[in-house]
């Protein structure tokens, strides 16, 4: 459908004003936003480059306009109207504006807790996801570092105590700063920001709190929101939005769910010295991840003091007279929780957007159905990010937003590429992965070689803590290509990024082996895995051999 129905987009000429607004001085940005700042650094070559491109594009758009005689030319307020200024929406809007389009974006007013009426420029990632979560992970990780530091000779007269309100105040100050920066970014790109709730009225019209705007293209990038299942007492439960902004430390917290959000918060609260219980329906955490990683991370987290209740489904939350909460499951009841957090999935924010009335198709979960170019069933309406429930990650929303801007306004139809998208879980220890799990690889390729390493990192030998690192490479037996790479242990997220370039480029195990290690690091294990732990063959019984020497041989 995508290629056949795809028509060259038509564009109106950019105003000179929006053209000039593209060039601004850079603002000091935190790491997560630095890519934006580069975009705005004044540079002459860039100016010329862009200028030429705009001229080219303008010629093209005139031609496209005249070739397509079936539709009478129509004037729109904007070339693109974006609903939702999160990662995907801001990226698409900004790039579209850079390509010369006139763009508006609407977003709900700022709040740390999202709702039908609150959101904020920056979206989930900046306000209620990646960023605050990572800041909390940093904060909570210190308690492990204090423990480690004992083994390295550091001594504390009194054990470090954590002051919850300092953390929350500093975190919120940072979020305010970031939402401000995002607003500047939009403003500097010449994108008009409209505060309010956007609703689609017809294929080319958006209503924002009663005011109507017309646009050649509409982009829906309203993201998702935590979902709490209806059980008796579920009104006492909090979701991840609230968990990131609690006024005081939860003394004893129940976390319901076994996905990455549940594990991340379990680590955060545990590190900040809460008592943490995690309730999961299955036997293992992190469904969909590599089985060995699932086992390993569960063990490591349990060693750090988190209590897992497996195969327990919550049935009710009961509030006691003293205000404490009890969680009743199919197996029994655990009392005395100050907080019960549900991390039971997220749902697309597609309610009350007017989608049904204009005919935008959704699936049963409310996710907008799109083609490979992120186009919905209505040709002038597009959608990117979590609202489409493809791969719900910030960098994927950025990729989709970037691709859409190219498709619509640079005459370069671009499909996001979902192969070998790396991802991380900021549990403690964290997980990084790219490519296929062992189970997926067997299904898809049949014959594979699996290399694993399970070792005590140098830091743990001194700290005396039971921390370990697990690494895994999955290699296609026929082609020698590395199909999947998984790691759980310190720095996994940082380590996997570079390997993701290698896996995406289709490199082989021999290529890994030809690379010299950086010594002494954990990462070097990925280039020094000499003997397969097991070879899986469709025809024969798999040959297993545990490489007991795997790490001890690391040095020599």
């Amino acid at each position: 459908m995508a290629t056949t129905s795809f028509t060259a987009p038509k564009l109106s000429s950019p105003t000179l004003q929006s053209l000039y607004r593209n060039f601004h001085v850079s603002v000091p940005l935190p790491k997560s936003l630095s890519s934006f700042s580069r975009r705005f650094s004044p540079s002459f070559p860039r100016f010329h480059h862009q200028h030429h491109r705009l001229q080219r594009r303008r010629l093209f758009s005139v031609r496209a306009e005249s070739e397509n005689g079936s539709e009478p030319p129509r004037h729109y307020d904007f070339d693109l109207f974006t609903i939702g200024a999160g990662s995907g929406g801001v990226r698409a809007s900004r790039f579209a504006a850079n390509f010369g389009a006139s763009v508006a974006v609407c977003e709900l007013p700022f709040s740390t807790i999202s709702s039908e009426t609150t959101g904020g420029v920056g979206g989930t990632c900046v306000l209620r996801g990646c960023v605050p979560k990572k800041l909390m992970v940093y904060a909570s990780k210190y308690s492990h570092e204090f423990d480690e530091s004992h083994g390295f000779g550091w001594k504390y007269e009194t054990e470090p105590k954590h002051d919850w309100s300092t953390l929350i105040a500093n975190k919120n100050a940072e979020l305010q700063r970031l939402t401000g920066i995002y607003k500047n970014i939009l403003n500097n790109a010449g994108v008009e920001l409209i505060e309010g709730r956007g609703k689609i009225v017809d294929p080319h019209t958006v209503d924002v709190d009663g005011k109507l705007y017309t646009a050649r293209h509409i982009l829906i990038s309203v993201g998702g929101r935590p979902f709490i299942p209806e059980i008796p007492g579920s009104e006492y439960a909090i979701d991840s939005d609230a968990a990131l902004d609690l006024p005081s430390k939860p003394e004893k917290v129940a976390i319901v769910g076994g996905g990455y959000i549940a594990l991340e918060f379990a680590g955060i609260f545990n590190g900040l010295t809460s008592e943490v219980h995690v309730f999961i329906r299955q036997k293992k955490v992190l469904r969909g991840f590599d089985e060995e990683i699932r086992d390993f991370v569960g063990e490591q987290m349990a060693l750090r003091g988190i209590e897992f209740h497996t195969e327990e489904t919550p049935q009710a939350i009961v509030k006691a007279a003293d205000g404490s909460l009890s969680l009743k499951t199919n197996r029994g009841t655990v009392d005395g929780f100050s907080h019960v957090m549900f991390a039971t999935g997220r749902r697309p924010n597609t309610k009350n957007l007017g989608l049904e009335s204009v005919g935008v198709k959704m699936n049963k979960n409310g996710a907008i159905e799109v083609d490979e170019y992120s186009r919905t069933s209505v040709p002038s309406i597009w959608a990117v990010g979590d609202v489409t429930d493809r791969i719900n990650l910030t960098p994927v929303a950025l990729m989709e937003g970037g691709a859409l801007a190219k498709t619509l306004f640079q005459n370069e139809p671009t499909k996001p590429d979902y192969r070998a998208v790396p991802s991380a879980v900021f549990s403690q220890p964290p997980i990084g992965q790219v490519g296929l799990t062992e189970e997926q690889a067997i299904k898809e390729y049949g014959d594979i070689d699996v290399y694993t390493a399970n070792f005590r990192p140098l830091k743990a030998t001194l700290s005396g803590l039971p921390d370990r690192v697990f690494m895994k490479l999955i290699v296609c037996a026929k082609t020698n290509k590395v199909l999947g790479l998984h790691m759980c242990g310190e720095d996994s997220a940082e380590i996997v990024q570079g390997f993701a370039v290698a896996v995406k480029a289709g490199l082989t195990k021999a290529d890994f082996d030809a690379t010299v290690g950086v010594h002494p690091t954990s990462a070097e294990e990925f280039v020094t895995m000499r003997t397969p732990t097991r070879k899986i063959r469709q025809s024969l019984e798999s040959e297993g051999k545990t490489d007991v020497e795997a790490k001890s041989a690391a040095g020599v």
């Binding site: 001594k155 030998t461 690091t521 990462a523």
Partner: protein
Amino acid sequence: MARKMLVDGELSQTNEEEAHYDFDLFVIGAGSGGVRAARFSAQYGAKVGICELPFHPISSDVIGGVGGTCVIRGCVPKKILVYGAAFGGELEDARSYGWELNEKIDFDWKKLLHKKTDEILRLNGIYKRLLSNAGVKLFEGEGKIVGPNEVVVTQLDGTKLSYSAKHILIATGSRAQRPLIPGQELGITSDEALSLEDLPKRAVVLGGGYIAVEFASIWKGLGATVDLFFRKELPLRGFDDEMRAVVARNLEGRGINLHPRTNLTELIKTDEGIKVITDHGEELIADVVLFATGRIPNSKRLNLEAAGVEVDSTGAVKVDEYSRTNIPSIWAVGDVTNRMNLTPVALMEGTCFAKTVFGGEPSKPDYNNIPCAVFSIPPLSVVGLSEEQAIEQANGDVLVFTSSFNPMRNTISGRQEKTVMKLVVDAETDKVLGASMCGPDAPEIMQGIAVALKCGATKAQFDSTVGIHPSAAEEFVTMRSVTRRVTASGKPKTNL
């Protein structure tokens, strides 16, 4: 020549020569390169002997230990101290994240030292076991080469053992050297620095190489006052100039006093400590003066001259691409050859040696795109070419992508320290020629990037990789705009 070696090394051949020798291979020196070569050769079926000096943290002509520099006096103990020292900065940062810590946090140097020694003893034991498990016979004592196929091992009690071997491998590594200045005996080298009885309060470091900046970072992190003296404008000669400046800025930012273009001329013992005099006429008092002024190959006492093995002016054993010396039965790997003095490179050379001589597969070590790390705080890690090297070597224009950002952790801690990343790209081929990073986790991050560079990855392939968010590493795949383009015109060209 390769073919001839192959024939020499064929174990399956049962020519009568085989019977003459006590060993197929005798290795002198059980460090990274020697142990690797010995083990792998044994796994190919060779009968292998190896000799090593007795264990002690501080090396000398008669002291060494199985495991070698890396395990006993280098990478491992150094990294342990860096871990210990890094807590200093982390504890400061913890306060902004809400942690209430005492104003003064105690640090027990003796405890760290003790645990470090335990760990290297443990590793020393593991290495010995690795050798015995592989069937390699270990001799404790000093090895000397008597002839092309003969070694003598002088044991601790003075008795001498003489063995014949079809091949001899020299893997004796290197040792820190001292500058020839008055009072140099008051200074120490990195060996002693890793085993000091007491933590210095005032430390002076002479040298601009990686060892110098690592120890400066270690002592500063543990609370000492540190003065770092080096001859050039910036430390870390040979690395990318821009990154050198970043390291210098970070060292200063962490409170280390830098003295560029300054040398030490004299050390004098006084009651308050060691008086240090510079060539600028400055004087300061220190508890410890570290000479990190280079290392020299351990080739003096091997009897190489008599055996006819050629060495260069620095004492490094000269070898061909297969690590063979001018005497066909004598080979050398690792720091003693002074090629690229890194543990993983010695491992590679040892592996290639075993393959070439006993595996029937002539193998040359490949020195392209070897990643390496400097464990300063924060660390630097690089792979491939520096910008300067790229400009010199590329045929056309070079594109430079840089990113300098405040790591997310610092947004709350308030630490003023930017992470800097850099990609150097060949404009014509789009190939990424070099990558560098200075910032937390740089060495861990660079390993995967090294795989990509090793295989000639292009900038487009970097760009097509999705980021891991939020990480520092994702910057390497999101560098969209070129920072500068260095044109080929005007730069001198050679036909080589």
